[in-house]
Structures are given as structure tokens and as C-alpha cells.
Subunit: 230 residues, 2 copies
Amino acid sequence: MLELAILGLLFEQEMHGYEIRRRLRDELGLFANISFGSLYPALSRLERSGAVTVTESGGAAPASIPATGSLGGERAGLRARRSGATLGTKRSRKVYRITDQGRALFEQLLEGEEPAGADDARSFGLRLAFARHLAPSGRLALLERRRAQLTRRLATDLVRASGDRLDVYTRSLVEHSTESTEHDIAWLDRLIEAERQKQAPARTDSTRSTDLGDPHAGDAMTSTTPSGAS
Amino acid sequence: MLELAILGLLFEQEMHGYEIRRRLRDELGLFANISFGSLYPALSRLERSGAVTVTESGGAAPASIPATGSLGGERAGLRARRSGATLGTKRSRKVYRITDQGRALFEQLLEGEEPAGADDARSFGLRLAFARHLAPSGRLALLERRRAQLTRRLATDLVRASGDRLDVYTRSLVEHSTESTEHDIAWLDRLIEAERQKQAPARTDSTRSTDLGDPHAGDAMTSTTPSGAS
DNA sequence: TTTCGATGTATCAGTCCGATACATCGAAAT
DNA sequence: ATTTCGATGTATCGGACTGATACATCGAAA
């Protein structure tokens, strides 16, 4: 879960823990304010499993600190800091970089079935946020899996709402929840339609040969990001 | 959190663990499928703190008798021990009953400020489901607190969405999230309005003219009655 | 008769959260 | 000039919730 989010960010560029948190909050919006109590242990797990490497960034390049971007190496693992003597020592940081193994793990997590459990919304949202790393068929599968999930929930919700022994507030809660789910489904339908348009732009033929066989290929990372649709 | 849900159910009538789970799922809808790994420890905590008492309903002794005629009355869906042949060996159950102390704890939890953190929706929904146990002012405060929370989130969401370096999927996710939040706020506004109507139904017998100047427009102090148990 | 699903209680490892601690840095306030 | 203060940065701890699993009884279908 959190591993997926971290690897997804590190996939683009290396960064340190605090910035991972910042990006999760400011860019993805999921994990509104991820706790350090989960972030740092997760980074440790990833390091222990070989998915990321960490380089201690002690002191170098004192003047130019772009803070955003800057794939600068700074791989000098000097640990000469902390001795009180202030000789250009920058603040200690641990810069994390994804490995090939980590990239494989990322794909595996991203394509894996999301849990149907408690925070399914978060799990789905996270995968959608990284959907550009999925093969087109994988994207479609993700969207349709989510749609089925919500449809299922809607059915049980309706059963519940049909009970007429609920008080005003609970009833309003259930009804609003149902509406929200319907809203979500409509949104998903739009996404699915757009996705199908993208995959079969002008062809009306019948060569829809169920590409759900082996959605995984080496070129699954074709980052075709036409930044302009709305 | 879970304690609040449990106490809220036990407030109405006594029941055993499995049924608490069932009701949470079928009636409230929150805690879609609460795990026994949280439910049973929570019940143990409540028992240890004296908020509930437990009577083991097992074995051949049918001495355990409702005795709470009016409130719970006949336990509705009780699989009656029909066909008296099976008077022995009832399946072992632990029936939980709320105490006065538990009722006090319930009110305290219900009126307490909900955490602004991760699962705020659940926390709010839970309180709304038990809103009938709140004083009118407490209900209004709950709704307005939630409204403020969502408004705040909307502001930060907009800041995020204004960033234009997001890819199609992430952007769609953020936009949909914003819409959902707006939908929630509109719903809350309806609830708040209804609540105000309920609290000030007097003098409405006369002309329903709209010229009466919005009595709660500048009312920033709608709910500053701390420690006001119902 | 056996199988099977629902009921029922319980524990475990793992994940995530909120609070807290500590330290450095830049800039505003005094 | 010095203090103060908020942002940056890493880290740990207790607690709450989850999913998996285990065990047992019951009613009804196969």
C-alpha cells in the first residue's frame, strides 16, 4: 500500500523522506498527511528488501539548493557532520533511489489486485494516480474492477436502505452514501469510455480479441502522457 | 472510535459480539465489515473499564433472561429455542450489556471532537448515525464542524488542482475528489437547514414571508455550550 | 450421511496513525 | 545582535484496525 506510493514517486526521481511526504500530500492528495510513523518504517522495509538504496547526504553544494528537481548526484556519503564544527555541513538527509528490483516490485504491486477491504478507495486512487505506468489493458481492468466493486456495494446498500426502521439521520447517511457511490460509478463510466476511445480510436471492426491475456509486457511503461485533456 | 459504535448499539439493547458486527454492517453501513480482531479486543477494553457487563449465555442453564422488558423487549430476530428438544447446550455466547458508566462514556465520546485525521468520514458518519442521542445544539455543532472541515479540504484541493503538471489520471482523480467534496457540502447544507427548521419551528404559523432577517446569519456562537450533556 | 454455509468466539502479525522527541536552518521580531 | 519561531528533517512508541487463521456448533441441502 504505502510501498506502492513510495515506489511510484521514486520511479520518477530520487528524493528523501520528507519530500515523499510532501508530494504525497500536495500532488497525489491520497494519504492526506501520511504519518512518519508509517513512512520511515516503510522506507526501511523497502531498503531491507532491496527495492531502494539510500545514500546519506551529508555536506556538499552549500549554495545551490534547488529543492525541486535537481537530480544532482551528491553521492558523497560523508558523515562528517554532527561534530559541532560548522564547516559547510548541510542538514543530514537520506536520499532514496529506486533499484531495478524496486521497479519490478512497483509493477507487481501496481498490477496486483487491490484489496476489497476497508480503504479500497485509497487503494484504487493510488493505482489510478500511477495508471500511466500500466498497460492500456491493465488500466481498463483497473477501472472495471473498481466499477464492479462499487456496483456490488450499491446492491448491498440498497438492501440496507430498504429497511425502514432507520432514524432520520442514519437514513440520510445511507442515502447520501448511495448517491455518492452512484456518482463514482458515473465518473468511472466516463473514464472507461475515454479509455476505450483511446485504445480503439477509429476502428469499428470486431477485432476485440480480449486482450486480457498477458497484460504484462516489457513495454508496459510506455508513458504516453498527453497532458492536455480535460 | 469502535467503542463509540459498540456503545451506541448496546445503548438500544444488549447483544453479543457477532450481532454487533452484523448490525454495524447491515444497519449503519460504517465499518463495512469490522474485523473480529478489533471487535473482540474493543469489547474486552469496554468490559475492563466497566462500561459494559458480560453474561455468558451458554450451557444448559437458561437462567439468563432478558429482564429488560421495554427497552429491548423481545429480541426480535431471536432464533427462538423452538422445538424444546434442544434445551441443552446452547451455543456459547457472550451477551454484552451497557452500564450507567458506559452510557456516560457514550455521551462523552459522542460529544467529543472528532479527529481531523485520516478516516474523518467514518468518524463523522458514526456520530451522525447516533445523532438522535445528541442535544439539538450538539447536532448542529457536529454538522457545522464537518462542513468547516470539508470546506478546508476543498481549499487545499483547489490549490493542488491548480498545479498543471499532473497527468490525465491524477488530474481526473483530483477533480472528482473535489466534486465529491462539494456534493458532501451541499448535503450538509441541507441537513443544517433542516436542523435549524426543526429547532425554530415556532412562530412559523404566520406568514411565511422571507423578509424575516435570517436569525442565524451572524451567529458564530451557535454551539458553545461545553459540557452540556443531554 | 456427508457436506456446506452461517453462526460464534478468539488470537496473531502486520500496517498505519497520532504524539512526541530531537536537531538544524532561515527569517522575522525584538 | 539576539531571540524567537516556523519549516525542514529523521526517528521511535503505543495504540487501533485489518486480514488471516483457528476452532467449534448448528441447520439444511446434497
